[in-house]
Amino acid sequence: MTSYSYTEYAMTLAPELSGATPGIYPVVIVGAGPIGLSAAIDLALHGVPSVVLDENNVVSVGSRAICWAKRSLEIFDRLGVAQRMLDKGVIWKVGRVYHRDREIHAFDLLPEEGHRFPAFVNLQQYYVEQYLIERCWEFPDLIDLRFLNQVTAVLPKPGAVTVRVDTPDGDYTCSAHYVLACDGARSTVRSLLGLGMLGETFEDRFLIADIEMTADFPSERRFWFEPSFHPGQSALLHKQPENIYRIDLQLGANADPERETMPEAVVPRIEKVVQGRPFALDWVSVYSFQCRRLERFLHGRVLFVGDSAHVVSPFGARGGNGGIHDVDNLCWKLAAVLQGSAGPALLESYNDERIHGADENILQSARTTRFMSPHAGAERLFRDETLALARDLPFARGLMNPGRLSTPCSLAGFPLQTPAETAVPARMAPGQPCLDAPVTGADGRPGWLLAHLGGTFRLLAVNQPAPSLPGLPVVTVGAGSDGAGSALGDPAAWVEQRYGDGLFLIRPDQHVAAHWPAHGPPASPAIVAAAWRRALGFMASKAAALVETWEYV
């Protein structure tokens, strides 16, 4: 068992079991993993109440996600837990790749300054879930967290979905306008609706171990192809807080998972990795991996989010991070629909945009896994010769695939974004997530740009005045404010350098919805209003057509 001390969270009697009839809830969330908990917080920040049901009463058992990427940290910051993660976690940005025992490549995942969050923080999933639960408790009127509440049936009906819930105190049913299935890779909701996953399953097994050890290993990701301590296979080493290290060892397709998790098998393998240093096993498991997703993430009023919608192998840290991107994309849309500022068509854009994101994560993760476990024949030859060439030739190091780590995807080309009429820098094109930058507040205090964006739609004006639209808050950076003195300062010109002078419509999830550069035609209030309406899904006719079939999933 891990050195983390698990709290068994108390179960409170569901109101349904004490005779109350709460009516139809706006949202029921099935699953209090990182994704369900984040969704509850994001919805609460939008003022939307939710009931969260989890069959368990402890945070994630054992070694699962550890690597949280910069974009997820930015989202976690909006949700209010990133500072705790930063304070506790191990910060890193450099990855090293070894072939046999020689370092042949190193990469820096955040080579530039001027970002609040690092490329990665390593922190065990159980801490992240603990922080999220404690954050949920700060919304007692909006988040009803119910542990030991297992969902056993889902009945989609016109206008609402009814779920059946088993608890130690008895069963009950409740209904919600929307159900978020955040119940993980083995999703009950998914099987109850009879939905299958499309994609690839990999045969190779991997030993994943967390060990406690005092060592001066650097805060870096280290990856080996065919190291002498684990011949012919690959190995990955990560540092975590509290002297915990994560070791992933490839075992091949024929490994016997039961035998491989026994200390007699595990300990000698780890001893070779850590070269005689004393260590204690914290957690061991043997996994095989899949890269698959649901064909659609939206099934009427049931929305799939996180691992229930898509699973990947972990070598790009794209599972949990990808799920956090789902939450970021979905919750403002669901809030807008529930609060009547957008039609249900907006939810269809969640399906499109996040399937795009999931496909990118699946593609990258599957390629890495294939590179680690090539099929016999030509694929194995290409893999081995790439490694052989990479020892001496720089070009082959780019072909080598030791993991392509999680980055957010661009949403360019999807209907919510207004394409730019004038050429704009690729990093800030419509669809891109906003880049952070240091700013000074109106009071002269240092801060970060992203803290001023997100949550609601905003108009960002960099070194130029902004048109005023009712209900659309303006964030002005640098020169060009109307003298009201509310502009953010850009002391080192990072904003100017990253964004360029111009006007940007920023979505609540901090993605650029529209970009009008200062050198292009000026954006009138009517033009901005049209882009805003579009970003709320009012132009998506394809989506509108689909909505009509919703009630009959």
């Binding site: 995942l109 052989a388 060439l389 030739l393 780019g398 072909l399 780590l405």
Partner: protein, 81 residues
């Protein structure tokens, strides 16, 4: 970090006209000679290394894709996974 081609090559289409001219025989002989004394397996390894080196030299995914399609033409094989 992805293995994307960063600098697009001058030519974005595969050249199938003769570019070797008077050196054709020499190049052909060199390709064959490079395999002399190698086992069939090492010969395959050599070919793979050569493909990787030349693919990088070409530096264009589009051109490489075109060449792959052409090279596979007529080779039926089993159903692709």
């Amino acid at each position: 970090m992805t293995a994307q081609c960063t600098e697009p090559a001058a030519e974005q289409a595969l050249v199938t006209d003769d570019r070797l001219g008077s050196e054709a025989d020499t190049v052909y002989a060199a390709l064959v000679a490079a395999h002399e004394g190698l086992s069939a397996h090492d010969g395959q390894r050599l070919n793979v290394r050569l493909v990787l080196l030349l693919a990088n030299h070409i530096g264009s995914a589009a051109v490489i894709h075109e060449a792959l399609v052409l090279a596979r033409t007529g080779l039926e094989g089993e159903q692709r996974r």
